[in-house]
Symmetry: C2
Subunit: 367 residues, 2 copies
């Protein structure tokens, strides 16, 4: 990829914010607060080196970081700022050694910024990649887990000083259940460090180059805004995606359930899509796009909702009745389309056993 | 106390079961399964030494053990048998040394047996005492916490192999909240090891001699049964308690809420109490006894419901409409009646801010 990042600089942050939010597919939490925190660290002179996947030493110890919680809460409940650092220290204590590099659990949304913040605080580099290539609502929906790395030992820390260690878990789904119950008790926002991994594994299992991808995607949108080109088209061109519908939100059902934002939105098409109706089901993230009662795009492919004018992403908690939006489908990375991945992040895993995943197109594959 | 226990023997188990269940004040879980497990260990030739509190070395490391969960579930969900042992090992890993002795978190109910089982498995002694002198529904309602010992690090293990460590908690109430959420996710039954303590502290904070007390209390009932004396009177005599009412259960409301069994039972007096009505409110344990709309006995004093004929205790999950019962009030130990204790285990802590605790009588005090 041209223009591969070697460090995170102040100039990257606005673009990273936009790109990460687009890849968040409606969820993943808003990266805005994280951006401000990372900016503050960079202005203090801290550095955030970025290691390309293929330069990661095989024997490096890498830990996956991210915030966990319900995004609706994240908007109001601001992290204290060192949650992930405390969780990282707890995992280091578990494995008995210092970590060499950090990687984002999910590039989509706020968790693009979390490892950058912790990297600046801890003096560590981040790896150019992540475990989802987008955002997903549950912890076991991550390539570390899909490709054989156990997430335990993992650790969760909240802003009040509570630190909980998941030392042994019977499966990564069990870790998700235990961590979800814990984060709800913590007030629905916490930092999580998980899956201490060897560099050799990370090279095989990470969705590659996604930090650079998010930055470049955001740049494409911001450049289009500045140059008065169509920002929606800029996203489509950058990601090889497709415009699914321009529409007005005609109904919106959204509630908190077990720490998740769940619900759906109904759409009335306009412009080239006049006469079409649409529906998007969500669980933190947009899961399924239905046109005129037929499923057209579904997880793990990315369903993205953009403001029709600015091309900026709209997260599930910012959806409003009457909004004019552009709905895009973006193809997911090949690592999310294997049979073992689809068992975990395909439509059946989200409670849609009758929906068959038909990939939007091919992009990348297992190395 | 005469006849102080020096080890737990096969002959003690039936009496321990009855005595522990009485001190469980309706909750604490049924000690029956634990008794069978301890019996099995003893029959294999394992020993369970009992250390009187005053012989505990000041520098001994003692860990508090108990099962956690909703008793209604405990009846059906049988532990795998090494939950507390795995939790103990996790706490040992946290503090970096082996434990010298175990102590029961609560003598009332199943948790009288848990440390005995783990002691047999691990080759450790138990201390003659506990942290409640009865049963209480929440973890912070324990003398370790009341008298200044933080419960973290604590560890919880379930029958599936999940092990969660509560490494740092902002308060013991936070530990309760986090552990309760975790145990609900685990399926509402788990083993918990908490509060690694020095012997010097245990001597000051433990309710003393309660293992012996439970055994002797149970013996008094079983002896009365065998000798055709009144077993209810045997309990009253042994514990210095009072018969509050003989009654028929005329109404029973009980449901699971956040991992707790909560509700109340209504009583119609008979015999000497003909014409009286009564009400007992419960949260796992019996909390408050009301006669004719006036609170007569409340936590931390013990409200005990016995089968009117056999004198055997009836736990909340075994209550049935129409049962004929004897309701007893037993005075709690002095360590539960101090201002700092009443702030945690008095009626206000259970959501009854308008109820004033009037002690049944004095028995013991802070040493």
């Amino acid at each position: 990829m041209a223009d591969t990042m070697r460090e995170v600089t102040l100039d990257d942050l606005d673009a990273l914010e936009v790109g990460a939010a687009i890849l968040g597919t409606g969820g993943g939490g808003n990266p805005y607060i994280g951006k401000l925190r990372v900016r503050e660290e960079l202005r203090k002179g801290r550095k955030i080196p970025v290691i390309p996947l293929d330069e990661l030493p095989d024997n490096a110890l890498v830990v996956s970081l991210g915030g966990i919680g319900a995004p609706v809460v994240g908007v109001e409940k601001i992290e204290e700022g060192e949650e992930c650092l405390r969780a990282l220290r707890a995992v280091e204590q578990e494995v008995g050694r210092k970590v060499d590099a950090l990687i984002s659990a999910e590039i989509g949304g706020a968790n693009a910024m979390e490892p950058m913040l912790t990297a600046a605080q801890a003096g560590l580099p981040i790896v150019d990649g992540d475990g989802m290539g987008r955002a997903f609502p549950e912890m076991q929906m991550i390539t570390w887990s899909i490709y054989g790395q156990r997430s335990a030992p993992a650790a969760m820390a909240d802003e009040k000083g509570n630190v909980v260690v998941f030392r042994e878990t019977q499966s990564d789904k069990w870790l998700e259940d235990l961590a979800r119950a814990t984060v709800v008790a913590m007030g629905a926002a916490a930092g999580l460090a998980q899956a201490p991994m060897r560099g050799e594994f990370v090279k095989r299992a990470a969705i590659p180059n996604t930090v650079t991808q998010a930055r470049n995607l955001g740049r494409a949108v911001l450049d289009a805004n500045r140059e008065h080109r169509d920002p929606v088209q800029a996203v489509i061109d950058h990601e090889g995606g497709r415009l699914l519908m321009t529409a007005k939100i005609s109904d919106l059902q959204r509630h908190l359930k077990g720490g998740f934002a769940v619900g759906h939105l109904s759409l009335d098409g306009y412009g080239n899509f006049q006469g079409d109706t649409g529906r998007i089901n969500l669980q933190n993230e947009f899961l399924i796009f239905v046109r005129n009662d037929t499923v057209e795009v579904c997880v793990p492919d990315l369903i993205v909702v953009l403001d029709a004018d600015t091309g900026h992403p709209i997260t599930t908690e910012m959806l409003r009745y009457g909004q004019r939006i552009a709905v895009l489908g973006l193809p997911c990375h090949g690592l999310l389309r294997t049979p073992e991945a689809l068992a975990v992040v395909g439509p059946a895993a989200f409670g849609y056993p009758d929906v068959t995943f038909v990939p939007m197109q091919s992009r990348g594959g297992i190395r």
